[in-house]
């Protein structure tokens, strides 16, 4: 497709509108939609803090919209540390140019080492400084993954870096750019892609009190669990690998809002619970936070509460 000048662009829009049976009044909206495709997939910038890259790897599992299609049809991703051609000073310049231009969707993966800024560096700059700079110039900020949305494991009890979630960091910095939180450890690729495309095409999606898109985080794992009947009939698994409700093994389904049981993972291949594993609550905002709230109750007789959590 040859690049179009403005005049031929508008002519094309009029013609397409006519072909589609729309009146000439549809041409501007058509032009805008085409504009998005031809000129500007919405600008985006992806920054990583204290992360494991699991959410990026999860995004690479996106289907049927593959990540390459996401990057060439929907967003113009200026930079991603794991994918970018740019290296070294080129990477620093690329990010700084994007920040200077502004108006991008800022996606943040990982927590912010607010108590030990040098625990995450990008070139010569600490990640907290870079994030604050990038956040101020963003159109919207999407925190991806539990480390970004609630601190996750880096922010667990006993951590030495004073790790903060992205929303907590933004609040501390007084940055009021609209924000969305997509929890999960990792975040499901559908949650990421579905939210990005909603923002681009339809504006901010409906969010709950924690800033999470209602489309994915309204129902409890427990309420959509394939073993719910076992729960109701009080058929409880007593050891790993058993049939039955895994509540007594420590399943965090009753705490965790996410649609994993319906959406399933890895293109419909499986889920934690279908694989016989209790939910560990990776999309719950208390995930892994407390030493004394382990994932499983197998060791329960040795817990201070005697195996009866409040």
């Amino acid at each position: 497709m040859e690049p179009l000048n403005r005049r031929s662009f508008l002519t094309l829009s009029l013609r397409m509108a006519a072909v589609m049976g729309l009146g000439a009044h549809a041409a501007p909206a058509m032009a805008e939609a085409l504009e998005r495709i031809v000129r500007g997939r919405a600008p985006a910038l992806w920054l990583q803090g204290q992360c494991c890259s699991g959410c990026s790897i999860s995004l690479l599992n996106s289907e049927p919209l593959g990540p390459d299609q996401l990057l060439t049809r929907y967003i113009a991703l200026a930079f991603h540390q794991t994918l970018s051609g740019a290296t070294g000073h080129q990477a620093v310049e690329t990010v700084n140019q994007a920040i200077e231009k502004g108006g991008y969707l800022l996606v943040v993966e990982g927590s912010v080492p607010a108590g030990m800024p040098r625990a995450c560096m990008f070139g010569e700059e600490t990640f907290p400084d870079q994030l604050a700079r990038a956040a101020r110039r963003a159109k919207a900020i999407i925190a991806v993954g539990s480390c970004a949305t609630s601190g996750g494991i880096p922010a667990a009890e006993g951590n030495a870096t004073g790790a903060l979630s992205v929303p907590a960091f933004l609040d501390r910095e007084g940055i009021k750019v609209p924000r969305i939180s997509i929890p999960g450890c990792p975040a499901h690729p559908d949650w990421i892609v579905g939210t990005l495309v909603h923002v681009l095409q339809f504006g901010m999606p409906p969010l709950d009190a924690l800033g999470r898109p209602r489309a994915f985080f309204t129902k409890l794992i427990h309420d959509q669990c394939p073993r719910f009947a076992d729960y109701e009939r009080e058929n409880f698994a007593t050891k790993f690998g058993d049939d039955g409700c895994m509540f007594r093994l420590g399943c965090a389904g009753p705490l965790t809002h996410a649609d994993c049981n319906l959406r399933q993972w890895n293109g419909g291949t499986n889920t934690c619970i279908k694989a016989g594993a209790p939910c560990v609550g990776c999309a719950w905002d208390g995930f892994a936070a407390k030493r004394d709230f382990p994932f499983y109750l197998k060791n329960a007789q040795h817990r201070p509460d005697g195996g009866n959590p409040a």
Partner: protein
């Protein structure tokens, strides 16, 4: 003329890495490899329930979570005195092997590819492959219309000598797009047995919670077939083709000359007889592995904890203002030596060891096909070749493991957690030798130390000022343009660094 070059951040690896290079007359004379991100898993694990460990430690890395999970359950298996039943061992082997394959494919195409392939050349594509046509149209539109960050994230690249021949160049670019689909297949195969990837819920001490069924066996066979076709028909040939286009890289990036492997993929229900054996290779000499020889120095690392400790007595106390230190990585050493780990290490150990009958013929075959000798494998290209070769050997072995699965037999055993005890889990991640050291006191984790592959490969200098393997590999590399140190980048990426892992 002396120059200082800062390659920071190093992109297209996992995590946050910087490399500070000194050159003289266009050749690297010394390098400092700087791990730039810290979280502190070892402290976070202290005081937690031991059974939290395989879930928490998987989050050390989103690229190799399975391997961390396996190291952790192996340490717990040892501490609890259990071993998985056959189905459980096979399911673990399959998921781990398939994660290696997925990781290697991702590394060659998505991480290393852009060091060799000229993306902008796609604007000249005149064929009809729909994926390349779409990429061409995107690239043209970007370059014409996007004033800032055109072609991101794939552009810009260093202006460098990349593959010129359009057939080869655009062929590899097409395969990059195919690799994106194929790595999804690898994750599906892993998730078939582990529930989801990344970060598998079904991995536990005593086996896996997932059950083996006939339909899972059928699915696994089908998914594996796709992986094998790609490895044999696309991945391996592309590695050979890139090697032919950049032969100088058989002479670059040699490294420290010592190689270490812990052994991986147990073939025996007692957890022994690893498909890829353990061992140490120095020069041409194979020695048996002695884990008591492993210690971590921290003189140049941002830790105030003691240096030279063995992992079972290890401590991790971060001190980012420590004078003289320059990295978040510790410096693991084996009998005082730096050691390289990874596919090349595993392949060299297996080559010199007689126990695995498939590795030596496969290596000799590849060397013959490329007209190279064994010493040439100790290089940038040797590392890429070792990964591709290993992917093929593992995919072949996965076919056998699938055939050994028996539906309706258990895949896990029950266990109880002692009030105190200890265990060591030694295994391999795609990037190399991985160990978790667990100590339990009063029903809680008293100490947990990890020594991770990239910790070995990207380590800083040790207490005796010996540089780490990558720091050594960079020395002697010519850098034609200090503003575009592509040669250094190729050496760095040949180690497949993962810094989230290395620091943890």
């Amino acid at each position: 003329m002396k120059e200082s070059i800062s390659v920071s951040p190093v992109t297209r690896i996992e995590g946050h890495l910087g490399v500070q290079i000194e050159t003289d007359n266009g050749r690297i004379t010394s390098a400092r490899v700087v791990g730039e991100m810290f979280r502190g898993f070892e402290q976070i694990l202290r005081g937690r329930d031991p059974l939290d460990a395989q879930q928490v430690t998987q989050r050390i890395c989103g690229v190799c979570p399975v391997e961390h999970g396996i190291a952790s359950v192996l340490a717990q298996d040892a501490a609890y005195g259990i071993a998985p039943p056959t189905n459980g061992r096979l399911a673990r082997n399959l998921a781990q092997a398939v994660n290696f394959i997925t990781s290697h494919i991702t590394h060659f195409y998505l991480l290393s590819g852009l060091d060799f392939v000229d993306v902008a050349q796609v604007t000249t594509y005149g064929g009809s492959d729909p994926a390349l046509v779409a990429l061409r149209d995107w690239a043209k539109s970007e370059l014409a219309n996007n004033p800032v960050n055109a072609g991101g994230p794939f552009l810009p690249q260093f202006p460098a000598q990349l593959i010129r021949d359009p057939t080869l160049n655009l062929g590899i670019l097409r395969h990059y797009l195919e690799a994106i689909e194929v790595r999804q297949v690898g994750h599906k195969l892993g998730a078939t047995f582990l529930g989801k990837l990344p970060h598998a819920a079904a991995l536990i001490p005593g086996g896996v919670t997932e059950r083996v069924t006939a339909i899972k066996i059928v699915s696994a066979r089908a998914l594996l077939a796709r992986l094998r076709t790609f490895i044999e028909q696309v991945y391996l040939p592309d590695v050979v083709a890139v090697a032919a286009a950049f032969p100088a890289y058989f002479e670059l990036g040699r490294g420290c000359g010592g190689f270490l492997a812990y052994g991986v993929f147990p073939e025996g229900d007692d957890g022994g007889s690893p498909f890829l054996p353990s061992g140490v290779v120095v020069g041409d000499q194979l020695q048996p592995l002695d884990t008591a020889a492993i210690a971590e120095d921290v003189r140049y690392s941002w830790y105030s904890s003691a240096s030279g400790r063995k992992p079972a007595q290890g401590e991790t106390t971060p001190e980012p203002t420590k004078a003289g230190a320059y990295s978040w990585l510790k410096a693991p050493r084996y009998a005082g030596r730096p050691m390289e780990v990874g596919s090349l290490a595993r392949v060299l150990v297996a080559y010199h060891d007689d126990r695995n009958p498939v590795v030596k013929p496969a290596v000799d075959g590849l060397l013959k096909a490329t007209g190279r000798g064994l010493p040439d494998l100790v290089s940038v290209l040797g590392r890429h070749a070792a990964r591709a070769l290993e992917a093929k050997l593992l995919a072949d072995r996965c076919a056998d493991w699938i055939e050994q699965l028996v539906p309706d037999q258990p895949a896990c055993r029950d266990f109880s957690i002692p009030a105190s005890g200890s265990g060591i889990g030694l295994t391999e991640a795609a990037r190399g030798a991985l160990g978790h050291w667990l100590e339990i006191k009063d029903h809680k984790i008293a100490n947990y130390q990890c020594v991770v592959p990239t910790t070995w490969n990207c380590s800083p200098r040790d207490d005796h000022d010996q540089p780490g393997p990558l720091e050594q590999a960079l020395v002697g590399t010519p850098v034609a343009d200090s503003k575009s140190p592509i040669e250094a980048a190729r050496v760095i990426r040949s180690f497949d660094p993962c810094i989230a892992c290395a620091v943890h």
